[in-house]
Symmetry: C2
Subunit: 589 residues, 2 copies
Amino acid sequence: MSHIDERVAALRTLLEKHDLDAWIINGTDPHQSEYVCTRYRTRQWISSFTGSAGTVVITKDAALLWVDSRYFIQAQQQIAGSEFVMMKVDTPSYPDPYDYLKEQLSEGSRVGIDSATLTVSAKASMEAAFAGKLEVVPCTDLLDAIWLDRPAVPSNKVVSVPNDIAGFSAIQKLTMVRLAMARKGCDYTVVSSLDDIAWITNLRGSDISYNPVFLSYLVVGRQQAWLFTNPDRFDAETKSLVSSDFEILDYEAVVSTLSNLFKADDVIYYNPDKTNLLLFETFRANKTVSGLDITTDLKACKNETELEGMRKAHLLDGVALVNFLASLDTQNGRYTEIELSDMLKRQRKRSAHCIGESFSPISGWAAHGAMCHYSADEKSNAKVAGNGLLVLDTGGMYTFGLTDVTRTILFGIPTEEQKRDYTLVLKGNLALANMRFPEGTCGYQLDVLARQFLWQQGLSYFHGTGHGLGFRLCVHEGPHSISPKPLAVPLKKGMIVSDEPGVYKEGRHGIRLENILAIKEDVKTEFGQFLSFEVLTICPFERTLIDKNLLTEAEIAMVDAYHQWVYAELKDLVDGTALPYLQRATARL
Amino acid sequence: MSHIDERVAALRTLLEKHDLDAWIINGTDPHQSEYVCTRYRTRQWISSFTGSAGTVVITKDAALLWVDSRYFIQAQQQIAGSEFVMMKVDTPSYPDPYDYLKEQLSEGSRVGIDSATLTVSAKASMEAAFAGKLEVVPCTDLLDAIWLDRPAVPSNKVVSVPNDIAGFSAIQKLTMVRLAMARKGCDYTVVSSLDDIAWITNLRGSDISYNPVFLSYLVVGRQQAWLFTNPDRFDAETKSLVSSDFEILDYEAVVSTLSNLFKADDVIYYNPDKTNLLLFETFRANKTVSGLDITTDLKACKNETELEGMRKAHLLDGVALVNFLASLDTQNGRYTEIELSDMLKRQRKRSAHCIGESFSPISGWAAHGAMCHYSADEKSNAKVAGNGLLVLDTGGMYTFGLTDVTRTILFGIPTEEQKRDYTLVLKGNLALANMRFPEGTCGYQLDVLARQFLWQQGLSYFHGTGHGLGFRLCVHEGPHSISPKPLAVPLKKGMIVSDEPGVYKEGRHGIRLENILAIKEDVKTEFGQFLSFEVLTICPFERTLIDKNLLTEAEIAMVDAYHQWVYAELKDLVDGTALPYLQRATARL
């Protein structure tokens, strides 16, 4: 019996004890974080699968793991030798987990799930899917009893972001929240989303790799605010600063405190997509107003100080990128994928303002570059030598912002196909970045601009074109995006979004070009207020991969103008040894 | 007291009698038709407002009419002198009807509505909005008792579309429906949508202007099918033809028949967006499966015979359009708006295959062209003379298809602004028509292609880019569209859609260019199956309005290729006197 099968068997014993017929593990944390700390890697612990999304279902007879197409190969390998069976998400012959349970279990069966990771919305979806046939039973996490060395809730130190970097103090942000609460007629708002809490409090932590958040809940009342997080994680100075605006209470004290705090006629604002059942139980009887977290829009529309910080971060990042690119021997070099991302990391770290990387770097050579979510490890780490393309998708975390940039770097001599593909991706990147659009436009309306040239040639890519970015916070931040998914969130002034079309040819090469864009006001006409993009990323494109014959005059002018700007921004800042490269790379096409 | 106020007062007396606190009139018919016959012009009868959309709410104290921005001016004029108050849809300071009622009425109040025009979905939305505070009370239509000369349910003659024109016989279509029902595990499907019924039965009526449908319900069982419509509307031959596949029963017999037909363990398929409460009550206790009508997709994806018919209809239409355009004196002519649309209608009617117009023509001169939904009447009918633009949006109904085409025609000398605007609209029309896109793409993803050039110049238009079209049926047909609205309906092979960007400058001019596109299979690559468009409309663009400097080489080639095709298709078919015009109009730019 594998150690995985032993864990499944132990869980089944608990199922019987609790009179449950199935257990669902969604692999999220109590805050619905995109990335979770080790304590909440429950899906991985029970199944060995290390991917970032998937659902585990354990019944008396079966152990199943649902994963999406990104993970079909990886999941199959990682569950091999155990009793787990892989199920494919969005694949015709596979039911989804809820339908599976409805088919397999007899009427009246009880399906358990950890109430700390079950949101109000998710419970409603489950109940709708079960249509009265099965019962959803939110419980304390059964894994606690069998995962003996389960890591504790992390409580790494937090640091404060100075007001002159954040743009607004925590009390100013609380005031904004309270104004919005008043407009909604609410007495309290319950915040579970970790990046919203980090943004309001102007605090940053390190509980989750790369995402500088700290595990906590926040409740804002009309006069007071309560921050539930381990009080030991503050140094004296930060604690005294924070205590003037927030009462700091233990993370574990949240449920008991809220149960006493909320009175019968209090109106509670909450986000059903982020609020778990534990918290919801404390105000289930109250009148509620629900929607996106109040701070989601405030956080997404960067203030002038945040924008200025992001510009500075991108300038420092441009220096690091050009120093790195200039140092490469792309004709006779012998690097590994990891060496290359490490070299770039070292260039970034030369700036005292660079705190680290903003996410785990992607350095994919040749066929690895064609795997969208490739991450080099010691085993896969390929030798970068000869002719080929490297997709390098990395980012820096700076004290006043963060970056996320992808460049596709040529080693050796390109093929015509590679040049054509690169140029088509570049055309899409430019078309989106140079678009003007009326207020009210949503990301899904613009997505095709980045795809159109690929589509015309029978090519495509199967990821979104752009994600929102946080300010010295998480590299992925909502509520907006630029994607084929019909997410009805209008793009607004101050929002930041990536522009990253690509093309991935299995076994051959991958290409992705990613610039970061800030949304700004443009002309106002009789047709309304228009918006457009400011490009933040400062790094040349790979001119040897551009087929000028595929560019229009207007596109050539766009590339030249971008390169002239890159040169002007960086010429006095890059290493002297990098200047010849910068000049060559940014010369007119 | 105006006659409108008298009607409102009479309705209020009935409200009191039925213990109701408010009455809602949504202005739809029992089939949720886009256009309704006179019997169901309830909104107009109670308020005088003649627009195609709006909601009336009558309470003890107030009479209100909600309309969208298209109708702000018209509605205000039409309700003037009555107690009606206009409310603006999607306008910040105006609540929607349900919120208004929730605010104005005391808890427990009863809101009545005609159950024949209330769909299952609409009732659910009302109940969600009322949140338990108000009660929704579906009733028989109170207007019946006070609208003394209310027109009867129409029962104009129906005609049969021969199988060689429809492509499939009614029994073949019933078989397709039954196969889909079997896959869904259903015993019956209930169809309320009039164009779906016309499509399945291969019958056409004339109960509603321009929309060749007939008032009816259809229920398809595993072996039998029941068509509820006035049996007197069939001639003997048609009746005998239809009777082999359908049992014909009275329209009014639907509820009593279904109540007896459905047994307890029957599973019913229905469309909650189309099924009214009267019908729903007959199977409320049954197990149901719900979704779009089964035939909606079958009908939308035209078969080869239907496509061939549509091509022939567009060829005849092109002949009529070119004969019409060639006959115009655009320098010294003296026409009225109505004369021009009548001249085109006469050209269409020269073909024996032309049954009539497919919708009420739009002929808008100068400032009238800037009013998207302008319809010339005797009072507004403008003199078309001097310099200016005419927007002419018309369509023909043919025995084997229908057309819908908009051309913007220059009279006299154009301004630079008119040429620029026309060219920007043309660029959008071409960009969409020439796009290739992967299977699974939805209309909202393509919409921006038609807008992008206008947006870049701070211009826009506030309607969708394209609607689906029926086959010798309704000119507007779902489920697909090309619009900024995030309607998650993938475009499929055989679907037909319009491509009609425009620009409307209030008080000055309007421009719209509309071609009809059919979706066809294109290349299949490692990225999947691609689709593209076949242009069906055969009519030159207005070359004197094209500013060549604003077109790329590729766009000039697109216009030239289109014009060469138009010339080749029409040269042997148009009047001899029209040939010189056709040659001039389709010469290379």
